[in-house]
């Protein structure tokens, strides 16, 4: 994260001219040194904020209060004390280890449940005939645009009347529900592309809907499931609004809520905030770096969510 990529433009030799894309041609003729410089400048601007806070999280409390992180390079002094402090509930005034667990407990079912339900529904829409199919599909598609805000208060009132307010069930149920329209839409697009000859062949062999789904479709669906799974994982892990509404109490609140509270109560304690921010970032960034390819595929499949 520290250095910007040494970007060079593709040299425009005669042999290579043919392979250049429209954009590359435009860029190459925009005089390449300037283009490279612009790319590096953008990359640096985009990296500095995160980098600055990362450095800060390893500096001593005293240094953080007195000087900017950029002075560290002339006077390096690093420590892990900030991480120790922020992970210690007594010192931080917020229980980050607990909320880390809460984030995990919230996220895992909130990814698995909509994935399974959406696969079943998408299969029904793609490969079955029943009255009202098109209407129902369009109705579900349209629900994608409902902002979560519209649902929160009535949902909270429902959860209270069911006596499950303040439990993880509220978060699992609401996140699973909110994910369904987009998940069904994406998986349906994917399932539709499976050649019907495959399905027909399995039918002739006497396979029912259940075995067709498991033996024929599921192996083919894995990339799409992975793409949506990662998408949903990051979305739930990074969510603040739903958690704040349903799981604001300290016992079950996730990292985002605790970190957000910390900015309110300890707004100038940068030794805590910097380390806390990176504790909350570590899981999504790891997931992102390891599974970037799937994540990008999920994005390209089109996403209007929330």
């Amino acid at each position: 994260m520290t250095t910007a990529a040494p970007l060079t433009t593709t040299p425009v030799s005669k042999a290579e001219t043919k392979k250049l894309s429209a954009a590359a041609t435009a860029k190459a003729k925009l005089s390449s040194p300037w283009a490279s410089l612009a790319a590096v400048v953008l990359a640096v601007i985009w990296t500095i904020p995160t980098f600055g806070l990362l450095i800060t999280s390893f500096r001593t409390t005293e240094d953080i209060r007195r000087t900017g992180w950029w002075t560290t390079f002339t006077n390096p002094l690093f420590t892990l004390d900030n991480y120790k402090a922020v992970l210690d509930p007594e010192q931080a005034g917020a229980n980050l280890p607990d909320s880390f667990l809460n984030s995990l407990v919230m996220t895992i079912p909130s990814v698995l449940i909509p994935l399974c339900l959406a696969s079943l529904a998408a299969y029904a829409f793609a490969w079955m005939n029943f009255p009202g199919k098109n209407f129902l599909f369009i109705a579900i598609f349209a629900l994608q645009i409902v902002p979560l805000q519209v649902t929160l208060l009535p949902l909270l009132q429902l959860f209270v009347s069911w006596d499950i307010d303040g439990t993880f069930w509220t978060v699992w149920l609401s996140h699973s529900t909110f994910a369904l329209p987009l998940a069904i839409y994406l998986l349906h697009n994917f399932i539709k592309e499976v050649p019907s000859s495959l399905i027909e062949a399995a039918r002739i062999d006497g396979a029912g809907h259940v075995s067709i789904f498991f033996r024929v479709l599921l192996p083919l669906l894995t990339p799409a499931l992975a793409a949506f799974g990662i998408f949903q994982f990051l979305w739930v892990w990074n969510d603040l609004l739903v958690s704040l509404t349903f799981a604001g109490s300290p016992a079950i609140s996730p990292l985002t809520v605790q970190l957000s509270n910390l900015t309110g109560t300890r707004g100038t304690a940068w030794y805590l905030l910097s380390a806390g921010a990176f504790v909350s970032i570590i899981v999504p960034v790891t997931v992102f770096l390891l599974l970037q390819r799937y994540f990008v595929r999920g994005l390209l499949a089109g996403s209007v969510k929330g």
């Binding site: 970007l7 894309s21 806070l53 645009i145 529900t177 069904i184 603040l240 016992a251 905030l273 994540f295």
Partner: protein, 325 residues
């Protein structure tokens, strides 16, 4: 099992129980579906769709309609007051500031983020280490808005300009290096709203770049080649070849970011809490509903949010239809 879990083992057990319960439901559905042999689609489809339809009706449809209904009631949701909440949103000076800020967000974020994303996608296209260069811009996408808020609040941090006090926020340090006075950046309105918008641009540019980069790479080589043989220059290439070819992708990106921006809540909540005239509709909804207990007004704000999303989505679908036709 349905009570608040407090200890670590309780939490993990409850999660396990939830997953098992859910697996049992799915198992039951599949078991019953398996007993229908032949082409009895109707029964199987009903089984497969039942959980989805139930959850969407109870979890999205009913609450949505109920919020619309509640938006015509007063703070306690007991007395019907007609359109008064909507009148408040359109006339109260605080609410007008909220609307103005929301307009700033929606008008600025999508275009700047898309512009930066497109520029960067073109600059690094086919460059060495392209994927690494892209990852740098894309990384903010994986960070929560809360963490992004913390990162940028630190960038904007202010120290008074006196004696030996040094700046610790990078933006103010740059101002000082350039010979200016350090500013309380997050307090001056309306500048502070634009500084919050910068955070959203920082996050969304990666999304724009990824989608547009894929669109650029999908332009057929022969079109590019034909244009080159016709002697089209670099700007002409961008204007008459690249841009028309990626137009549908640009529209999807701009509208997607615009919808995401309308709903932005976390950034404002984390960085200013909506103070100093920085509130936007999504944040005001939360404050009114859950902090001020002004539930009717909160409901009306949520409905306004919904109404504002609709034209953007309709425009998006129309453009997509046109490009497919």
């Amino acid at each position: 099992m349905f009570t608040t879990a407090t200890t670590t083992s309780q939490k993990i057990l409850q999660m396990g129980a939830a997953i098992l319960l859910f697996a049992a439901v799915i198992g039951l559905i599949l078991f019953i579906a398996g007993r229908f042999t032949g082409k009895r689609d109707r029964a199987v489809a009903a089984l497969y769709l039942a959980p989805t339809v139930l959850m969407l009706s109870v979890g999205l449809l009913y609450p949505g309609l109920r919020t619309i209904y509640q938006s015509f009631f007063d703070a306690s949701l007991k007395n019907f007051i007609g359109f008064d909440n909507y009148v408040t949103i359109l006339s109260d000076s605080e609410q007008l500031t909220v609307l103005r800020n929301t307009a700033f967000w929606v008008l600025v974020t999508p275009f700047v983020a898309t512009g930066v994303g497109l520029l960067y996608a073109i600059l690094v296209d086919k460059a060495r280490m392209e994927s690494f260069a892209k990852a740098l811009i894309f990384l903010p996408m994986s960070i929560s808005f809360v963490a992004a808020g913390v990162i940028w609040k630190f960038m904007y941090e202010y120290r008074p300009n006196q004696g030996t006090v040094k700046q610790i926020g990078f933006v103010n340090q740059i101002i000082v290096w350039l010979g200016g006075e350090p500013q309380q950046l997050l307090i001056d309105s309306p500048l502070n709203t634009f500084l919050l918008i910068a955070v959203m641009v920082w996050i969304q540019a990666g999304f724009a770049m990824t989608v547009l980069s894929a669109a650029i790479k999908a332009i057929p080589d022969d079109i590019v080649e034909a244009a080159r043989l016709d002697g089209v220059g670099p700007w002409g290439m961008f204007r008459f070849v690249t841009l028309p070819a990626i137009r549908p992708a640009v529209i999807v990106v701009v509208t997607t970011i615009a919808i995401g921006t309308l709903k932005v809540f976390d950034i404002v909540q984390t960085m200013t809490g909506g103070r100093f005239d920085t509130s936007v509709i999504a944040n005001e909804f939360y404050s009114q509903t859950f902090r001020s207990d002004n539930r009717g007004l909160g409901a009306a704000l949520a409905v306004v949010l919904f109404i504002l999303v609709i034209p953007i989505v309709v425009y998006n679908i129309r453009q997509l239809r046109r490009s497919e036709a």
